[in-house]
């Protein structure tokens, strides 16, 4: 029960924020939370690979970019219907993950990190060459994605659609983690040979996990581009992939809600420290280092420790 209570509380709090009397800062606060939710979804999808499957993907931002460009390319062809755009974005991401994953999963450890990076870099340069969609400069959407002709992604709609997808994705990932599929993945992370010898094809499970994570991240890309009304290759830079990794690790890899906490912390810290000083990275960088040295297990790991201390 407690394991459901914490995330449920977070989601309820996010749902209630627009009802608060926020005054002049209202628009900014809602935009910021929506951004945190989108990156929360992306980080969650990375945690499926990293936490469940033990696969450190350094190219996860590629799927954000694929989702974003699916919206942009369809938009340029006058298609902005969510029932078409969203499945295509998710399928395209999953297809890219399956094709590259089949090669990448031949390698282990740091080589896997680097080969996923290599594929993401290839995609990054390929997107920059799409001159009919703006090339390096990016592409501005004519219109946001609509559902059956209704502009559901405008204003507060975007906020609640983000929240809805985030909750759905979170529940889906929890179910996935608890299922036989999730248990096989976690077992393979600990001892691949043993799971193989039990008759499971570990490679197929990992590939499926990559495709699922990629599809969810493609969805995050759709939401991201709809918030910005702008798609550019910079969504897929390796720095962005690194940032997603930071969110997951900072939150605590493998716990799923940790990824959400990590994404929220990074987005809010960036904004908060950015207001404090233009050199906010001088504070943020050491914070990251200290969090590794002293908070093992990430944000998701600290909260239970505090609860235990208070109970004593």
């Amino acid at each position: 029960m407690r394991r459901i209570a914490a995330p449920a509380l977070i989601f309820a709090a996010i749902a209630l924020v627009p009802l608060l009397p926020l005054g002049g800062e209202r628009g900014l606060v809602l935009l910021l939370i929506a951004r945190a939710m989108v990156f929360g979804l992306a980080a969650l999808s990375l945690d499926v690979l990293l936490g469940l499957g033990g696969m450190v993907s350094f190219g996860h931002a590629a799927y954000l970019a694929i989702g974003a460009y699916a919206v942009a390319i369809l938009d340029a062809n006058n298609i902005s219907e969510a029932l078409i755009v969203v499945p295509i974005a998710m399928l395209a991401s999953a297809a890219f993950a399956t094709a590259t994953g089949a090669v990448a999963l031949r390698t282990r450890g740091v080589n896997f990190i680097m080969i996923t990076l290599a594929f993401a870099q290839m995609l990054f340069f390929a997107l920059g060459s799409l001159s009919s969609y703006g090339g390096d400069d990016g592409y501005t959407l004519y219109d946001r994605t609509e559902l059956l002709g209704r502009p559901v992604l405008k204003g507060l709609g975007h906020y609640y659609v983000c929240l809805g997808f985030l909750v759905l994705a979170y529940v889906f990932c929890r179910v996935l983690a608890a299922s036989r599929f999730g248990r096989v993945l976690r077992a393979a992370r600990q001892n691949e040979e043993r799971v193989e010898s039990l008759g499971y094809r570990v490679l197929a499970y990992r590939l499926a996990a990559m495709a699922i994570g990629a599809a969810l991240c493609g969805l995050a890309g759709v939401l991201l581009v709809n918030g910005a009304e702008f798609a550019s290759p910079s969504y897929g830079t390796w720095q962005r992939s690194g940032e997603l990794l930071v969110m997951v690790i900072l939150g605590g890899a493998g716990s799923l809600h940790g990824a959400l906490l990590g994404a929220g912390a990074v987005v809010l810290l960036e904004e908060g420290l950015g207001r404090l000083t233009e050199h906010w990275r001088l504070i943020f960088g050491p914070l990251l280092v200290l969090s590794v040295l002293y908070f093992r297990g990430g944000l998701a790991g600290i909260c239970p420790t505090w609860i235990k201390r208070v109970r004593k």
Partner: protein, 307 residues
Amino acid sequence: MALFLVQALNGLQLGLLLFLIAAGLTLIFGVMDFINLAHGVQYMIGAYFGVMFAGLTGNFWAGLVLACLAAGALGLGLERLLFRHLYRRSHLEQVLATFGVILTLTEAARTIWGPAPLQLKMPEILDGSFQLMDGLRYPVYRLFLIVASLAVAGLLAWAVNRTRAGMLIRAGASNAAMVEALGVDIGRLFALVFGIGAMLAGFAGVLAAPLVAVEPSMGDNLLILAFVVIVVGGIGSIRGAFVAALLIGLVDTLGRLLVSDLARAALGASGAARLGPAVASMLIYLLMALVLAIRPAGLFPSPGART
């Protein structure tokens, strides 16, 4: 033909520069099993040190020596204060912590030296060009860069293969625990490897400084290229890093030439202008994916390396 020759020399020069950075990275990874994302930042700081010390002393060579020493000292300081506590942690935690170091040092450089790119003036004796062949001149400084990098690479090869410390480093790269069990002070060995790596990266930074804009983000892309080099070469292998660095340098520069020619032949001028640069930028990553798909441990996997 002349263009080809110039590009081949440029590729050689890029490859050697990459080797200087990748050599430290591959040693640090091979011996300490430590992913140091901050290695590119050490190259950037080296370039800034070069600008600063050359400005203070008014002499390029004094600046070069002082910058190398300072870069090595900075590396040793980081190792003692922080990295040493991360060796036994998971790769993920190392990635997070060193990412934090990247953010901190990049921003520190931006705060201290400003966001605008700086320029390091090359020494007058190397400023100019010489006749390579008929109607073809090549800058002296680039040739100096090639010679200096080759000399340092040779020195490194000698040190690693012929000296006692080098023997311990090689032993550490194949089995650090065994070296420790044999009574070697592993902490000092690690510090030595780190200091050498930091100095090489700093040296590369100063050498590159007169040719590129010295700016806080100059290390970012080189870090990725250096990682490509060590993964293609096989982690922990100096020889692999050398071969892979030259390969990557040549493929990147000559590939750009070749791809744009091929694209022009196949697609016409407008298509080539569109597709050429993208395909050319992709080449090294294609090469890396190809190498890893065929040889998952790289070209020269070091025996007993933990990948």
